[in-house]
Symmetry: C2
Subunit: 348 residues, 2 copies
C-alpha cells in the first residue's frame, strides 16, 4: 500500500467542492441567492502546482479518489486532517458568514467524511465564523459528536486578535467538547478583516510571508490575555504559519512578561510554558535554510520533537514526501513529529 | 573618562524636551494652538526605569548633563545617535504632523546638537512625517548639510508598509543626501495608523512584543517592492525591533522569492542579499534566551557581527552596560558590533 516506511498523520490537507454549487445546495434563502452573486475573493497562489490538478478536471483537492491515490496511498497516511478553505470571515455580513460555515460543514460531513470515509482515513475540521462567537459555539456543539470531526478551524483573518474576550464562547465550546482549535491562515487583509501587519501587502510573496505574522499575532494575544488559565484544557494548533520564528518570539515574550507581568497578572507562568502544554504546530511550510544544520539547531531550541506535527498542506505546496519536505532529523524525532504527537493531540 | 574598555557607538539614545513648551516655541499658528490642546497619546512603558529620572526633575532623557554623566561618560561612548520620540504620524492632519516634525528637528538642532555639542558626541536623526512624503523630502533636504544630523528617522506607525510607492520621495531624498533611514517603533496601532498586526493589542506586553512585527512588515515590503534596486545606495537601519527573528524571516522570504519571483521580477536577487548590503540592526532589545549559546548560534546564522550595531535604547531600557546587555560574544565580534559597523554605516 505504501512506498513510505514511515507511519504518518497529515495534519493539514485541503479539499474543496467540485463546484460552488455543491455548497450552495446546503444554503437556505436569502443566503443561497447571495452566495450566487458574491465571490469570496482572496489571494490565490499564482503558481499552483500543476501536478495536483485531477486528471478528470476540477480544482486541486476536489477529487477524493485522485487525492487518495496521490497522497494517502502513496505516502501511507494513516489519518488526514482536512482544513477547509472557506475564507469566511472577510464578508461584511456575519449572518452570511455563519450560514456559509454551516453549509461547508454539512457538505464535508456528507462527502469526504460520509459513507466515502468508511476506513476513517479522513478527519474534518469544523469551520466556524469567529466573528459571531455565539453562533460559532452552536456550530461546534452541532458537530462535536460526529465521529470524524476532530477539531475546530478558525481562519486567521479577523477584526481582533483571538485572545480578546469576545472569542471566549468559542474556546469554551472547544474545551467543553474536547476539540483542539486550529488557527489557519485565510482571509486576512481583505473585506472587514484587519491586515496581517502594518498596512496591506501588495504581492502574494509578501502576503504569504505574512502568514507567520498572522498566526504569531493570535498566539501572542492568546498568551498575554491568559486564555490558557481561563480554559485550562484548551488545545491550539498553529497551522501553515511556519515554525522557526517560535524561539525568537518566545524569547522576546518571556522577557517582556518577566519585566511587565504586573500588567498581565493573569499570566501565571512564562508564556513559553503555556505553549509547551497547549500549542502544537504543523510543519508545512517549514523554513528551509541553506544549511540543514541551522534548521535543526533552531528546531532543537524550540523542542520541536514535542511541538511539531507533520503536514503536507496538500495540494497547495510542492510537497512530494516527508523525506523531501523535511531535513534529515534525529531518528528519535521522526516518529513523534510524523505520527505520535498528532495521534495524542487528536486522540486518533 | 570611561570605566569601559570598549570603544562604543550607541545607535539608539532617546532624548526629550524638558516640557512640551520647548517644542511649541518652534511652531507657528495654527499649529501652536493645536499643539496645546492635542495630546500625542501613545503607549508608554508602564514601568520606566526609575534610575534614569534626572535628579533635578523632568522626564528621563531630558537633562543633557545627567545623560552625559550616566551614559556617555560612564560607558565611554564615542558617538550617541539620538532618536526622537515625537510619535508624529498617528495624527489625522498630515500638515500638523509635518509642522511638529520641523519643530522637533529645530529644537534638537538648537539644543542637543547645538553649541552644547561642541565635542560632537551627539548625532541626530531628522524626524519626518512619512505620511506627506514630499514634505518629508523637503525636511530631509533642509537638514542634510547639518554637521550633526546623520540619519533620517521614520516611525513604524503608518498607513501602509514602506516599500509602497508613495514613499519613494523619502528614499530618493535619503539617497541624494547620503543619509541612512532608521525605521523605529512608534505610533503604530493608534490614530490613523494601522495596527501592528491583526487587530489592536490590548496590553503593553503584547504591544512591545509587536515591535518586531512592525519592523519586519516594513522590511519585507522594502524587499519585495524592490526598493534597493530602485535606490541602490539606500541604507536602512532597523532600530529597537529585536534581532533574532531575522534568520526565520529571511529563510521564509528567500524561499517564497525562489518560488514566486515571476510575480516580483524587480527583485533581482535573494532578499537576504539585499539585507546584507543595505540593512543594519540595533541591538537593544536583544532577545535573551536562557542559554547564551542558543542566542549566539542564531546570531551566527544571521551574520550578526556584520549586521548588528550596538544600542542602549537609553533611557527606556534597564540597560546597564554592553557587558550586561549582551552575552559574551566571540572576541572578533565585539569591535564590529560595538563600534566599527556603526562608524562605517554613518561615516563617523
Amino acid at each position: 500500500m505504501s512506498s513510505s516506511p514511515l507511519k504518518l498523520i497529515d495534519c493539514d490537507v485541503h479539499v474543496c467542492p467540485r463546484s460552488a454549487d455543491e455548497i450552495k445546495a446546503y444554503l437556505e434563502q436569502p443566503w443561497k441567492h447571495r452566495f450566487s452573486i458574491r465571490k469570496n475573493t482572496y489571494y490565490k497562489n499564482p503558481n499552483p502546482p500543476v501536478d495536483k490538478m485531477p486528471p478528470g478536471g476540477g480544482a486541486a483537492g476536489s477529487d477524493p479518489d485522485f487525492l487518495r491515490s496521490q497522497l494517502i496511498d502513496r505516502m501511507g497516511i494513516y489519518r488526514a486532517i482536512i482544513m477547509t478553505q472557506a475564507h469566511l470571515t472577510a464578508d461584511h455580513d456575519p449572518d452570511y458568514s455563519s450560514a456559509v460555515a454551516t453549509a461547508y460543514n454539512s457538505w464535508l460531513a456528507d462527502t469526504w467524511l460520509g459513507e466515502y470515509n468508511a476506513d476513517g482515513v479522513f478527519k474534518g475540521s469544523i469551520v466556524i465564523n469567529h466573528r459571531d462567537p455565539a453562533a460559532a459555539a452552536r456550530e461546534i456543539d452541532r458537530w462535536a459528536d460526529h465521529p470524524h470531526f476532530v477539531q475546530i478551524q478558525m481562519d486567521t483573518g479577523a477584526m481582533a486578535p483571538f485572545g480578546q474576550r469576545q472569542y471566549h464562547p468559542i474556546f469554551e465550546a472547544a474545551e467543553r467538547n474536547g476539540l483542539p482549535v486550529a488557527i489557519h491562515p485565510g482571509g486576512e487583509s481583505i473585506g472587514v478583516n484587519k491586515p496581517v501587519w502594518i498596512g496591506y501587502p501588495a504581492h502574494y510573496t509578501e502576503y504569504y510571508t505574512g502568514f507567520s505574522f498572522a498566526v504569531q499575532s493570535h498566539l501572542v494575544s492568546l498568551l498575554t490575555e491568559g486564555i490558557f488559565e481561563r480554559f485550562p484544557k484548551l488545545k491550539i494548533v498553529i497551522a501553515e504559519g511556519g515554525v522557526t520564528w517560535l524561539p525568537a518570539l518566545l524569547w522576546r515574550l518571556d522577557q517582556e512578561w518577566k519585566g511587565l507581568r504586573s500588567e498581565v497578572p493573569w499570566v501565571m507562568k512564562a508564556p513559553s510554558e503555556y505553549v509547551r502544554d497547549h500549542v502544537r504546530f504543523t510543519t508545512q511550510p517549514l523554513e528551509r535554510p541553506e544549511k540543514d544544520e541551522d534548521l535543526i539547531a533552531v528546531l532543537d531550541m524550540m523542542d520541536a520533537h514535542n511541538l511539531l506535527m507533520f503536514s503536507s498542506d496538500y495540494p497547495e505546496s510542492d510537497f512530494v514526501s516527508p523525506e523531501a519536505s523535511l531535513p534529515r532529523l534525529p531518528a528519535e524525532w521522526d516518529s513523534k513529529m510524523l505520527f505520535e504527537n498528532a495521534r495524542q493531540w487528536y486522540s486518533l
